[in-house]
């Protein structure tokens, strides 16, 4: 009797164990099949972002199509506005331009340091570039690019460790400054007595200034974003 009782107990427990085992098998398989919750969250976040991006892009497409439609309705007023637009683009640096000018190449001094010498002297700094660019503008430069980074109305020239940031792009020596304008004016402006270029030469920086008949400057590749500034609409503007 005791034996039968024992067998019954074992049988029942075995059945319970079997059920547990089976459910665990299924659960484990289910876990392996489905993605982890964290991954799901990440993916849905990505999906949301991409969807937003797509919506904004399609909006942009729509507005661009509208603009294109407007441009196609070609009349004199439109052509005038086109002219103005191109001028504004050139001033902003958002389209490539070409023309005569000068190419100024600057490189750090090859002179090996002696004890007691300031290592900063033979090196091209951000403020050197700034001063030279300023000089070029004063001499009538119409478009300037440093190492193929076009200078725009919002471009910065800033020291970033051993390199220099222009348009948030890191550039390093040799620095090639291309400026479109009257080559003679630019050359004489840069070579002015006591000017910055002369100072750099004295400090040992390698400089090379050459006139070019025709060269091309690239457009500014970044986005022009104005988050704070909004145009002020005046009576005169509206009349135009």
């Amino acid at each position: 009797m005791r034996n039968r009782n024992a067998q019954l107990t074992i049988a029942v427990i075995c059945m319970v164990l079997g059920i547990m085992l089976a459910i665990q098998f299924k659960t484990q398989e289910n876990i392996n099949d489905t993605l982890m919750p964290g991954r799901v969250e990440e993916l849905s976040q990505q999906l949301l972002e991409v969807t937003k991006q797509r919506d904004s892009l399609s909006e942009e497409v729509q507005s661009l199509r509208d603009k294109l439609q407007n441009i196609r309705q070609d009349n004199q007023a439109m052509a005038d506005i086109q002219d103005e637009m191109i001028k504004a683009h050139m001033a902003a640096g958002t389209i490539p331009v070409k023309g005569p000018g000068v190419i100024l190449t600057l490189n750090d001094s090859t002179h090996s340091l002696q004890t007691g010498e300031n290592p900063n002297y033979g090196i091209v700094h951000d403020y050197d570039l700034l001063t030279l660019v300023n000089e070029m503008r004063a001499s009538g430069a119409e478009a300037i690019a440093i190492n193929e980074e076009r200078l725009t109305a919002v471009s910065e020239i800033r020291c970033a460790g051993t390199l220099i940031l222009v348009n948030w792009v890191r550039i390093g020596p040799p620095y090639v400054i291309k400026a479109i304008g009257d080559p003679d004016m630019l050359t004489s402006g840069l070579n002015i007595r006591g000017g910055h270029l002369e100072t750099l030469k004295i400090l040992g920086v390698q400089t090379n200034l050459q006139k070019v008949d025709n060269m091309e400057l690239p457009a500014y590749h970044g986005a022009m974003k104005f988050t704070h500034a909004v145009p002020v609409v005046t009576q005169a503007n509206e009349a135009q």
Binding site: T9, I10, I13, M15, L17, G18, Q24, K26, Q28
Partner: protein, 111 residues
Amino acid sequence: MWLVVVFCLLIGIIIGLQMPVLFPVLYAKYMSIAILAALDSVFGGIRAYMEDGFDSTIFVTGFVVNALLAAGMAYLGDRLGVDLYLAAVLVFGVRLFQNLAIIRRYLMKKY
């Protein structure tokens, strides 16, 4: 006896596979520890049965309490940041193999 054990286990697995129930994913880990403990209890029971020292009450309570305790310890370990479930795996794993070895010896003696 063996027929009964295997037969009931099979029935249990079939029932379990048919049941539309799944353990929550979060607790699947604790469930696996509980199942390990239950397995150990069952083998312990079979061993006791062969040694003629079987007691239904001890067997059933051992089955339930060991499973719950193992799962509980694993849960506590997770809360504390200690891998306590490893201890449960080790203890029950060792006992499982011991029980299996003893059962094997009995069977060898018997036949």
